[in-house]
């Protein structure tokens, strides 16, 4: 059997930590909990991440880069702005269903425990890959005349706040239907709210 590489080990820690943090919360989850879940000693864990705070920041960067790469693929496709909106919504909801820990972590840990991220993760630093890709999407949409030229954060908040809210409701088991069911109407709503007049 092939030996597990250091990178694979690191990935294992990231997956386990994401699950634990998003299920139990950041403060309750301890490093021994994470080490136990991946089957390594606490001492060995520190070879990968020097502290829980550093791990927390790495996780945000990991999620941001994952989301950024997914949106970039959509941005680079030769489809209309309206189709791109549907693709982004679809990708985000699929991710919330298939890898709920990623978005849960983002909503419940990153956005809710700002003190953990106040040093080294200020502003856009840790989420830059994701936000940059949304900027590319909006810039292209306005340049093509499809979207109304307005303030970035007004548009960004409408798009991502809406998706985040729906995923939160999904996570709380409040939504009567699966996320898939909402994809079309939410994509339409976002497009109608942002499209050029």
């Amino acid at each position: 059997m092939a030996r597990i590489t250091k990178e694979e080990r690191k990935q294992g820690i990231i997956s386990a930590a994401l699950k634990l943090f998003s299920e139990r919360g950041f403060y309750i989850t301890t490093i021994p909990d994470i080490a136990q879940k991946v089957g390594m000693s606490v001492g060995n864990f520190y070879n990968y991440f020097k502290s829980k705070d550093i791990l927390a920041k790495e996780l945000v960067i990991y999620i941001s880069e994952y989301l950024g790469a997914e949106i970039r693929q959509i941005n680079e496709r030769d489809i209309t702005t309206q189709e791109k909106i549907s693709e982004i919504v679809s990708m985000y909801f699929d991710m919330a269903e298939e890898k709920p820990e990623m978005i849960e972590y983002f909503l419940r840990v990153y956005l809710s425990n700002r003190e953990v991220f106040s040093e080294g993760c200020e502003g856009m630093i840790c989420v830059s890959a994701f936000v940059t890709e949304m900027m590319m999407f909006f810039d292209d949409g306005v340049a093509k005349g499809d979207l109304r030229n307005q303030d970035f954060f007004s548009a960004f908040g409408l798009f991502m706040g809406y998706l985040g809210g729906m995923v939160f409701l999904f996570g709380e088991k409040i939504l009567p239907e699966p996320l898939e069911w909402y994809k079309k109407s939410i994509s339409q709503n976002i497009y109608h709210a942002l499209k050029a007049e």
Binding site: G123, M124, I125, S128, V131, T132, M135, A143
Partner: protein, 301 residues
């Protein structure tokens, strides 16, 4: 009618549709007298010269160097002689043809008078389709609105000492136009940390984000070879208008064009994605020293 008294290169300055801005700028050259000593000035519209406009429009004198100022309008006349005839006569006999200013280089401001007819002498904006295409090897473009007098002095001095003038793809001397107007801007630290200026005329802050500054995508040495030897647009708090580029004049010169707050154009050669990543991160930091007036920051009170 070639002069027998002088072996100096003959120099002639003629004009198409122009505001005289390049002539006026040229007259501000501190070393003007010394520079002109190296040439036999046949004609210039605002300097007393050997020949009058009437003499020049007879099209009998040849000149080694022809400087053309203003937009080329073939139907415009000087002393009842068309610019088309004047330019072609002097251009075919010259060794060098210098387009003085953006109008002569690319069409510029006065192309708008008759956009389908007017152009620069070699270029029509970025298209090489002007009247001197067959003589293109002789043409040096000095774009700018107006040109800096030292830029003209550089070209004339290079000709006087018989040195090769290396040109870019738009026939501008690389020595003068490989720089961007951004190089040497005193606001560069504000650009690095993405700190906007609070308005026009302030010493602090960068003019790129709101005030329309085109310096990071404009080939010019305005912040390297200073104007009146002391200043530049950006140094006094006015945006660079990108006046040396073929697309000049643009609309809304005092406002940055944005798509959802994202600059439509980003610094030359920088991928937009990379630029946005870097900008977002730089904007995160709040540097107190760069937030207020610099002189106040160090005041002890």
């Amino acid at each position: 009618m070639r002069s027998k008294q002088s072996n100096k290169p003959k120099l002639l300055w003629i004009q198409g549709v122009t505001c005289n801005g390049n002539s006026h700028s040229f007259l501000n050259l501190p070393s003007l007298e010394r520079l002109l000593d190296s040439f036999e000035l046949l004609y210039h519209p605002t300097i007393t010269t050997k020949y009058s406009l009437e003499d020049i429009t007879e099209c009998k004198i040849a000149s080694d160097i022809v400087i053309f100022e203003g937009t080329y309008d073939p139907k415009m006349k000087r002393n009842d002689i068309s610019i088309e005839k004047l330019l072609h006569f002097y251009a075919k006999n010259a060794k060098y043809i210098i387009a003085a200013g953006s109008c002569a280089s690319f069409g510029g401001m006065f192309k708008a008078v008759s956009p389908e007819r007017n152009s620069g002498i070699l270029f029509n904006e970025e298209q090489k389709s002007g009247p001197l295409c067959s003589l293109e090897k002789k043409v040096v473009n000095l774009s700018g609105c107006p040109i800096h007098p030292e830029w003209m002095a550089y070209v004339l001095e290079m000709i006087a000492i018989d040195r090769e003038i290396v040109l870019d793809e738009l026939h501008r001397p690389v020595e003068l136009y490989s720089n961007l107007a951004h190089h040497g801007c005193t606001r560069n630290e504000y650009f690095e940390w993405k700190v906007d200026t609070k308005g026009f005329g302030f010493k602090e802050g960068c003019l790129f984000y709101e005030q329309g500054c085109r310096a990071p995508m404009t080939h010019a040495s305005c912040n390297k070879i200073l104007w009146n030897e002391v200043s530049s647009k950006t140094r006094i708090g006015t945006p660079c208008f990108g006046c040396t580029e073929p697309g000049f004049p643009r609309r809304n010169l005092f406002r940055t064009q944005t798509n959802m707050s994202i600059p439509q154009d980003v610094p030359l050669g920088v991928p937009k994605r990379s630029y946005l990543t870097m900008t977002g991160i730089a904007k995160t930091f709040h540097i107190k020293r760069l937030e207020g007036k610099l002189i106040d920051y160090k005041k002890t009170h």
